[in-house]
């Protein structure tokens, strides 16, 4: 059976999502389909990965190569896929528990290594799959089954954490803002490096209304980051320079609901490229030798 030459929505839709009706994750999934349609990568070269959580069910709903790994550890797994296979486009989806709690260490280290891939964190401020426990992003006072009188631990500042991590593309969006999400995800996919997006994605079951303050249709505001255009105008100086990490920190510290858009973007050599250089240098030294000959010369030195 021949495969469609053009990647259509139909060809990349898989199992029907098992999320609760009204879950913000549906919109993220729809946006991912749209971005894949726009990017038109070869179908077999797209990889959709996830860890564990409601949002991490994602790969089952996308008809691409993919995997559902263990809680919090999808990043090193996916980084290996990216590092060893230049032909692949690697996308990782997960939630706030996966990204900021059990997988917090992996997030920071994959970011600093700048492995080329896109990581989408669907942040709902609560553990949904296990039915309402406090998450690392739950606000102070949030009542859950593990904090019946309200959360007492200071939540993680997701954008502050990401800016500090060394990721080279960092953006924030809201699951009710489809056009904005699409733009962010497309830019993230095209970025040559570790790109990460936090998407506020409401859990209608366990934390309804959590993100109304960022949703104009619910009486909130969706303040967008105005990026500097470098057009020489005086008003341009007031716009955000996405390569300015201090400015990114300032925006990460703005009061709830904060701002949306690209906080930071820079070009730094990826681990993919740096490992490629190591390989090229090592291959030059063994000039033209086959694998067998390289190993034989290693043994010859131990005679």
């Amino acid at each position: 059976m021949s495969q469609p030459q053009v990647l259509t929505r139909k060809s990349i839709v898989a199992d029907h999502p098992t999320w609760c009706p009204g879950c913000g994750d549906f919109a993220v999934l729809a946006v991912f389909y749209r971005v894949l349609e726009r990017l038109q990568y070869p179908h077999e070269n797209i990889v959709t990965m996830a860890g564990i959580g409601c949002s991490s069910r994602f790969p089952y709903f996308v008809n691409t190569h993919g995997g559902h790994y263990i809680h919090g550890r999808a990043l090193p797994f996916s980084a290996a896929v990216s590092l060893s296979r230049d032909d692949l486009h690697v996308f990782v989806f997960g939630g706030d528990g996966d990204g900021f709690s059990i997988g917090g260490n992996h997030l920071v280290h994959t970011a600093r290594k700048n492995v080329r891939m896109t990581y989408v964190i669907m942040d709902n401020f609560v553990y949904g799959l296990t039915k309402k426990q406090t998450s690392p992003t739950s606000p102070l006072g949030f009542k859950s089954k593990t904090d019946p009188t309200g959360a007492i631990d200071q939540p993680i500042n997701p954008m502050g954490t990401l800016v500090n991590s060394g990721a080279t593309f960092i953006a924030r969006s809201h699951a009710t803002q489809v056009a904005h999400m699409t733009e962010m995800m497309e830019r993230a996919a095209k970025h040559d490096g570790f790109s990460v997006i936090e998407i506020l994605s409401e859990c209608v079951e366990f934390f309804p209304g959590a993100f109304d303050a960022g949703n104009p249709r619910k009486g909130g505001k969706f303040p967008l980051i105005e990026e500097r255009k470098n057009d020489g105008t005086p008003e341009d100086q007031l716009r955000h320079d996405i390569s300015d990490v201090s400015s990114a920190y300032r925006m990460a510290s703005l009061p709830w609901p904060g701002v949306f858009g690209v906080f930071y973007e820079s070009q730094r050599p990826t681990k993919n490229a740096l490992e490629g250089k190591l390989i090229a240098a090592a291959r030059e030294k063994v000039a033209g030798k086959s694998d067998l000959e390289i190993l034989q010369s290693s043994f010859a030195r131990l005679r």
Binding site: G66, Y69, R73, F77, S84, I279, R283, D291, L292, R303
Partner: protein, 608 residues
Amino acid sequence: MVLPASSPVANGDAPVAGNPRSIHDAVIRLAGDSQDGIQTIGGFLARLAGRSDQDVMTYMTIPSTISGGPSIFQVRMGTGDILTAGDQTDLLVAFYQHSYEEHLDSLRPGGVLLYDTDHVKPDPDDRRFTAIGVPITSLTVEAAGGSTKGKGKNIFVLGLLARIFDLDVGKLAALVRERFGGRSEDIVRNAMVAFDAGYAYPADNIRDCFFRFAAEPGERAHGRPQVTMDGNVALTYGLIAAGVRFGAGYPITPWSSIMEMLRSDLPKYGGIFVQAEDELGAIGYALGFAYAGHLAVTGSSGPGLSLKMEALGWAVMSEMPLIVINVQRGGPSTGMPTNVEQGDLMQAIYGSHGDTPRVVLAPRNVEDCFYIALEAGRLARQYSTPVIILTDQALATRIEAFDEPDLAGLMVDPKPDLSERGTDFKPFPLDRITRHAPPGSRIATGHYPTVTGLEHDELGHPSGNPELHRRMTAKRREKIKALAAALPATGVYGDDEGEVLLVGWGSTWGSVREAVNQLRAGGVKAGQVHLRNLHPLPPDLGGIFRRYRDVLVVEMNDEGLYGYGQLALLLRACWAMPSIRSITKTDGLTFKVGEVVDGVKLCLSPRS
């Protein structure tokens, strides 16, 4: 220094000059501090033996302190099968008073103590040995200059040993040059000055008195040159020959040297080794490489393996080929990081959660470290399964010489299979062994697979169906049982039936074999089975066990709450035979031959 008398013999009842003891092999123990470079000269001696077509085995202890501390290197070289590094030493070189005090007991009665008179005051009343003092430190300073502060006294001792044992100076000089030549000509020159000073010391009469190798070894029958290396090096090259080009790890003793070598060697082959942020990340990377279509490796020592266990469960569930190495050390917890133990067998077989059948292999000596890696690669691919290699600190650090492998016949081409999969492709077929389609492979149906840790149907969709879980559990179990059924018949060394069968695994092979030789020489009908496949176990073991009155399992782990070491417990569970009992030890040191023999004598049932 040599006593004023013409003979260097200080005391003791050793043979007199002109009547040297003819020897087939010599055990030399170098005892000093870790910064003295005694491992370096031990390595030279081992490699020299390898180049001379002699057999060689070394043993060393390394302090787990950050810098310094007492350290030894023992080398046994000679002709015939060298199976162990030797229970007792023929020559002890003591650099310090503590070296003398700590290691004098390792010397056989009548053996030679060579000590540095600048640091050691031996007991003048001890007449068990021949004590020969040499001002090692001051003569080294004299030769190499005061600025060297005694650095190079290891090379001085190498020169001295070359004189005593009539070693091939040309070959040794070549080894010194190979070792130091890369750095600078000055270093080579200083080393050779120290070497010559040691060699010039009038010590050849020591040889005439005590040591003369029985005969020059002849040409080796097969003509393949010998290579000399430690177990971690052999394992690393075995992995490369097996087709491993990608891997990840996190530093931990005694695994680190494998990851260090892979990090610098794999790029030559177009591969990558990642130093991950932690052990969990390391196995994550390795599984990602495996999913991407490569044969990948991760490894650690016991504590790190504990951290990898959740991911190992995923590897079993998703049926991902992977090689996992555990270089065992003394445990639990941080335990004894630079000592040896075989305490991780149950962890390797049963660690993780749920029902997780996997493969566990153990190499028996340094040479086998190379071949076991090839075997692990073959099994991982053929059965699409994680394979754990249980090696240990003793194998990791000891040096042996062995025939260079036939690399041309063994190398595996590691190309991922990205061919288009037909319309009948299923990632988890119930009637066949899983063959994953790595990303990049087109799937003719247009339906792309998801690899998953959730229980799943044949296409990889999550499923909580009870009957499916039963069948998938059986699928994962039956392929490992098929592997067991395909194992070759278990070989028995020694008596094919009789009084006692010694069963071992891993690095104890040589000690157990020598013990069997000694027992048989003493009239005991004894055999040896040494298990390379620890999980699944060869199915024919029960039949072999029945041919012996006693089956004694020799292991470097504790007898535990039930009185049996880990393998012994497992063998008893599988074959329910009361004749299976344990010889265990937990001092963090390798089994001496004498310890095995003594253990057997304690356990043997009375002859009927």
